[in-house]
């Protein structure tokens, strides 16, 4: 696009000229340029220059003279820069309105201007410059001025440069006047030229083209794009028609002229279409243009001119499309041309045009090369081409003849012109241009993710680079596109690219690359002739023979390390004596085709020191058989590495390897045939436990060349990328059908069998609260134990952890239910000795080091575990040790043991309260509770109560009880006094399984508080040691403390208390008095209804029913005389009472309501009572 002249590339801008008052010119021209649409200004300082606009020739003479060309090169430029559409004459106001002499001057100036511009029909405007507002403007002089200038009143503009407010307005008026006049001028000019076309009596068709062009340009000047387009198209079509008609110039030059003009037309039309957003029309237009001229190749010797022209068409359109797509932001792809000739979306991509431009440019280059070679053979060397210059008409050339000052243009013959064109063509390096074009296309396609197309451009680009000798660029591009072809399996294309790459690395003298590319080529799946014979790159034709040739070449290269290569191809490449060429083949390398190693152990796990088989399978797709000198199989345990040597090449390998510490196997033959597995099976054993993994298989071919293949498992063997598509039978690396599916390149070496016994002894279920000892014993039976380590783990049997944050209770100090407290050393030894060896004790995990044990020795320790909750746990103990003191053989052996231990609650504590005998308070809350069932019980306030605490042995072992006491937390305030406190039992009581121990406390509550806070029952106990009980001193034994919180009791003031008073016993027939004492504790008078039921065994005297009033804080005593009628335990008459105020009924409990009746008066012996206040009552 840049080669086009400026005036063609930009839309035309109207031109106006101003004359006179030069001091205002700058102001006016800047303003006009900033207008929309802008107007260019041609400023003439005075009238002397006005003759420039004078028409040189009579217009009629053109029609008669023969047409020399279609249009002149400078015509457009002339109209854009030299010939104005409007001429504005500026006069100072004092010249117009002042002195008559000045007025005369103005008149003569106007006359001279009019004569000049009349020939060209340039429009005239008059500007009167007023210096100040004081200047008088007389109407009649103004009228005279208009008459003299022959202009309308609106074309006379008054301009006052000193008045800023009016200046703006008058400048705008000036601009609108100018644009109106310019429009009129271009319209008239266009109409005038159009009339000539319509007359149709033109002497030649060229003139029609010329006139159409002019009309279109004039239309463009006034921004009438539709008309411009119409006439450009008409000019274009007319031009196309005259191709075969005109004979004005010699054939070659004629075509050149037409093409260059049509090129300009095409450019204009495409630009106009694209700028109006009609992308589809533009693309269709361009396709039409391309098709119209594609066949017009012209004379064979000048064919390169055609290709160059074609290339330029594509380039320019591509550039136009690219710039317009930036502006219009894409296009609607749905409308793809007409149905008969649909446009493909490709034609909307600038890259497509760049690609084709490059294509035509390469056509041009080859045609040009042909022409050059032809011209060189003819040996016509003359310098006539030097003086050829473009002539006045577009697309024409002429010879410049200088004879002194006289310059003349002579027409050229076709031969001369072609020679000129060839010499011009030689000056350019087309390949650089081609590369630039292809690069544009390549990048554009890549950015749109059209990878195959961009690869194709890249391929062409690489070829150009290669031809140019730019090897590094070529290699880079070829490398990037080879990966796509590899991925998609386009073998023929890959073959070609690899051929270039091979050649590039050959030129770069990178031997390793060369070998890699060559081997990959040789291993490509090309079996039959693909039909690609000619037009191949350096790779040569893709067929089996060529593959073999490539392989032979490369093996010659690597084997002949001395560099005595006979092939001129390879003369650049050498492998010097010491250098070792090693190719790495991993899972993604394209060289997997060359060599693939699959390794399978026959067993998944092996014992240390026991041998198993390992199969190494190699596969190559090289067309010729490869002789391997030596294979090295490498493992992660390097002492397992071994070599396999080819028996036939034993001599050469031994000489080079020297002393080997690894195992060496000898195979009768190591020849790798094409597409056939080479399977080798050897024994292998490892002394080291852990994973034995085969890392790689290194094949040594010749003395300097190795291929290192990453070992692959047959089970996960990826199929080879390209060969899977081939229709050839697939073989498996191992014959064993199971190993094919499951074979792995690694095996697990187990650790040696442990020869140490680990015993866990537990005496039975553990009791909650005690420190439970689990003895652990190690007995070595055949191994020494070095750096032994004992790991202890406590795990919940149900699988959960021994931790529950939810129900943490106050008596579990931490949240663990079972805790490993510590590990005590072996009995009889000093604990201190081992305390520093204990590495780590956590709540459910412990780690302890075991001292060195000789074979046959034993060692033991005790685990201290404490239960906080009854819970079964699983104890895991594992011992890890090494049987050897040598650090190198750090083979740890593990012994695992586990034991389930139950945890039981040892003692269950219970408690209950009792009131004093035959004394019942009326507890209002108790009555309420009966209905509401509140759990917290109530006790009467200010009364003596009895608390009985019982401890029951729930275990299966006898326990010893030391004491039961009630303790108060430090911070809590005791709200009662307790008698029979915290004395220890001097001789710990034996509690056999199931037995219950009771202790009675008497509790009297304080007056003040409403809550009875007793504290915690604290029980100290331990297991009964049985026979040893006597012998061990009690002081050393640790007592287990079990605590249980006593719930708080509510204290209620009873309003009434009923006490039944009767003798401790009665005698048959002997009357006694039965008092019922009702005591009112309140400040109120209490009305009490009571009744006494008859009893069978007694005769009574007194009221059965009555209502009494008990005064505040006093007692009312009911007394009855009873005579027992039957002996034995007898129920007293049942008393019941109702408090009217509280509407609460009350009945004493049954137990306090009976008395024993003796048949006759008994006689008692008084027994000695013990001092001990503790009463132990055995129930059952």
């Amino acid at each position: 696009m840049e080669e086009y002249p400026e005036e063609l590339r930009t839309p035309p801008v109207a031109l106006a000229s101003i004359v006179g008052c030069p001091e205002l010119h700058h102001l006016i021209s800047t303003h006009l340029l900033s207008e929309q649409p802008p107007i260019n200004t041609l400023a003439l300082p005075d009238l002397s220059k006005i003759h420039l606009f004078k028409k040189k020739r009579d217009p009629d003479s053109i029609a008669t003279s023969p047409v020399a060309g279609i249009f002149k090169r400078d015509w457009l430029l002339k109209h854009r820069t030299k010939i104005p559409s409007v001429l504005a004459s500026l006069f100072p106001s004092h010249h117009v309105f002042g002195d008559p002499a000045h007025w005369l001057q103005v008149c003569s100036d106007l006359d001279s201007i009019k004569t000049v511009i009349r020939g060209r029909n340039i429009k005239l405007a008059v500007v009167v410059v007023v210096q100040s507002n004081a200047d008088e403007i007389t109407e009649d002089r103004m009228l005279a001025l208009r008459k003299r200038a022959e202009v309308d009143a609106k074309y006379v503009v008054v301009l006052n440069p000193n008045d800023t407010s009016e200046l703006k307005q008058s400048l705008t008026k000036l601009a609108s006047t100018f644009s109106e006049l310019a429009g009129a001028y271009y319209r008239e000019e266009g109409r005038r030229v159009k009339q000539r076309i319509e007359k149709k009596n033109l002497s030649s068709v060229e003139l029609i083209v010329r006139y159409c062009f002019k009309v279109a340009v004039y239309a463009e000047f006034r921004s009438d794009w539709a008309e411009a387009l119409k006439f450009y198209e008409e000019a274009y079509h007319t031009l196309r028609e005259i191709v075969g008609v005109t004979t004005r110039l010699p054939a070659v030059q004629r075509l050149v002229e037409i093409k260059s003009i049509s090129e300009q037309f095409n450019f204009k039309i495409s630009t106009l279409l694209l700028h109006s957003g009609k992308v589809t029309e533009a693309v269709t237009w361009f396709r039409q243009h391309k098709n119209a001229y594609k066949r017009l190749v012209g004379a064979p010797e000048a064919i390169f001119i055609h290709w160059e022209w074609m290339s330029r068409q594509f380039l320019v359109f591509g550039e136009l499309l690219e710039t317009s797509s930036k502006i219009t932001h894409g296009f609607s792809p749905i409308i793809l041309g007409t149905s008969s000739k649909p446009l493909s979306e490709w034609e909307y991509y600038p890259a497509y045009y760049y690609q084709l431009a490059a294509h035509y440019l390469s056509e041009k280059r080859s045609a040009l090369e042909l022409s050059i070679s032809m011209s060189e053979t003819s040996k016509e060397i003359d310098n006539s081409a030097d003086s050829v210059v473009p002539s006045a008409y577009v697309g024409q050339f002429a010879r410049l003849l200088e004879e002194g000052d006289n310059v003349d243009m002579l027409p050229l013959t076709d031969e001369e012109y072609v020679r000129y064109a060839v010499s011009e063509g030689k000056r350019f390096r087309d390949s650089l241009e081609i590369i630039a074009l292809l690069k544009k296309a390549y990048e554009s396609y890549s950015s749109m993710k059209i990878h195959r197309m961009s690869s194709f451009c890249g391929f062409q680009m690489g070829k150009e680079y290669f031809a140019e000798g730019d090897i590094s660029n070529a290699k880079q591009i070829f490398d990037s596109i080879a990966s796509l072809y590899r991925k998609e399996g386009w073998v023929t294309l890959l073959w070609d690219v690899l051929g270039y790459l091979r050649e590039c690395s050959g030129k770069n003298r990178t031997t390793k690359d060369f070998v890699e590319y060559s081997l990959e080529m040789a291993a490509l799946p090309i079996s039959s002739d693909t039909g690609v014979r000619r037009d191949t790159g350096p790779a040569g034709p893709a067929n089996l023979i060529q593959r073999e040739i490539v392989q032979k070449e490369v093996f010659e290269l690597v084997s002949e390390a001395s560099g005595l290569s006979t092939n001129e191809h390879l003369s650049n490449l050498k492998i010097t004596g010491d250098e070792l060429l090693q190719l790495e083949v991993d899972l993604v390398s394209p060289l997997r085709l060359v060599m693939l190693a699959s390794v399978a152990f026959h067993e998944q796990t092996i014992k240390p020191g026991v041998s198993t088989s390992v199969t190494v399978s190699l596969l190559s797709h090289l067309p010729l058989t490869v002789e391997i000198d030596q294979l090295e199989i490498q493992f992660n345990q390097s002492n397992c590495n071994f070599f396999v040597t080819n028996a036939q090449k034993l001599q050469s390998v031994e000489g080079s390897n020297g002393i080997q510490q690894h195992r060496r196997e000898i195979a009768p033959s190591l020849s790798l045939e094409s597409n056939k597995w080479l399977r080798l099976t050897y024994d292998i054993q490892s002394d080291q436990s852990g994973k034995l993994d085969c890392l790689s298989v290194i094949a040594k071919i010749g003395s300097h060349f190795t291929i290192c293949c990453r070992a692959e498992s047959p089970a996960s063997l990826d199929s080879l990328p390209l060969w899977t598509l081939e229709d050839c039978s697939q073989t498996v690396p191992i014959k064993d059908p199971i190993l094919v599916l499951s074979g792995q390149k690694s095996t697990q070496v187990e650790e040696p069998d442990p020869q140490v016994d680990l015993h866990l002894g537990a005496p039975g279920p553990a009791l909650v609260g005690e420190v439970f000892l689990v003895p652990v014993t190690l007995v070595s039976k055949g191994h020494d134990v070095y750096s032994g380590e004992l790991k202890i783990n406590l795990v919940d049997v149900k699988g959960g952890v021994l931790f529950s944050p939810r129900d943490s209770e106050p008596h579990t100090m931490d949240s663990h239910h079972v805790q490993l407290l510590g590990i005590s050393g072996p009995e009889g030894e000093d604990d201190q000795l081992y305390s520093d060896k204990i590495k780590k004790i956590q709540q459910s995990f412990g780690l302890i080091s075991v001292p060195f044990l000789k074979n046959g020795d034993s060692w033991s320790c005790k685990l201290e575990i404490k239960w906080y909750r009854p819970k079964p746990i699983m104890l895991y103990v594992s011992l890890g040790y090494t049987p050897f003191s040598n650090e190198l053989h750090a083979q740890t052996v593990h012994v695992h043991k586990n034991l389930q231990i139950e945890g039981h609650t040892a003692i269950v504590l219970n408690h209950y309260y009792l009131m004093p005998f035959r004394r019942d308070p009326l507890l209002l809350s108790k009555n309420k509770q009966a209905s509401e069932s509140d759990q917290s019980e109530s006790l009467p306030l200010n009364q003596k109560n009895v608390l009985i605490v019982s401890a029951k042995n729930c275990t299966e072992v006898p326990l010893r009880l030391k004491c039961i006491s009630i303790e108060v937390e430090d911070d809590a305030e005791r709200t009662c006094s307790i008698q029979h406190g915290n004395e220890e039992i001097s001789n710990p009581a034996l509690l056999v399984p199931g037995e219950e121990f009771k202790k009675v406390f008497s509790v009297s509550s304080d007056m003040s508080s409403s809550k009875l806070r007793l504290g915690t029952v604290c029980l100290r106990w331990r297991r009964d040691l049985g026979v040893e009980e006597k012998s061990t001193s009690t002081s050393t034994l640790s007592w287990v403390v079990t605590k249980q919180n006593l719930p708080d009791m509510n204290l209620v003031l009873p309003p009434l208390i009923v006490s039944l008073e009767c003798p401790p016993y009665a005698i048959l027939g002997d009357p006694f008095t039965y008092f019922i004492r009702i005591s009112n504790q309140t400040q109120l008078l209490q009305e009490v209804k009571y009744s006494l039921a008859d009893a069978q065994s007694f005769v009574l005297s007194g009221y059965h029913n009555d209502t009494v009033y008990v005064l505040p804080k006093s007692e009312h005593i009911l007394s009855y005389k009873l005579v027992p009628l039957a002996s034995g335990m007898q129920q007293l008459p049942k008393f019941s009472m109702t408090s009217v105020r509280y509407s609460a009924a009350y009945q004493p409990s049954n137990s306090s309501n009976s008395v024993f009746v003796f048949p006759s008066k008994p006689h008692f012996k008084i027994a000695a009572s013990t001092n001990s206040r503790v009463e132990s009552i055995a129930n059952e």
Partner: protein
């Protein structure tokens, strides 16, 4: 004249590619076929653009390259057929007809119990049948 036909598999790998040209520009034709896969991809991935061609196996003209026209066809199993022709004025009906016959030949070839799906088609019968179809291309409408 048809200069090249190709069968392209799922991974855009060539299953069968045969050129019918004396000019020995087979490599270029391979390139053209390969590039045309971009267009097929685009048509398949952006069915909106192709509009009415939705659900049709015949993809029509893929892209115009100098001197060649490339047509595409996509079977229901996503196997692509590519046709490269030098005729600049080809009737759509002819191409459709060609692809229909070609498809039938392909189906017969892959129905061979000894053919492994996804592998290259090496059947000689298929090759012969294809060359017959290629030779008769355009004759039906002319006759």
């Amino acid at each position: 004249m048809i200069v090249c036909v190709a069968v392209v598999g799922h991974q855009n790998n060539p299953l069968y590619i045969q050129s019918f040209t004396e000019a020995d520009d087979a490599l270029k034709l391979h390139h053209i076929v390969h590039c045309s896969l971009d267009v097929v991809d685009e048509r398949v991935n952006n069915p909106k653009k192709s509009g009415p061609m939705l659900n049709e196996t015949f993809l029509g003209l893929l892209y115009p390259i100098e001197n060649y026209k490339v047509y595409g066809y996509l079977t229901n199993t996503k196997v692509k057929f590519i046709l490269v022709s030098t005729d600049l004025d080809v009737k759509d009906a002819d191409v459709r007809n060609f692809f229909r016959r070609f498809h039938a030949a392909y189906v017969d070839a892959v129905s061979n119990p000894f053919h492994v799906p996804g592998k290259k088609i090496t059947s000689r019968t298929f090759a012969e049948r294809v060359s017959t179809i290629v030779r008769s291309f355009g004759l039906s409408s002319a006759g």
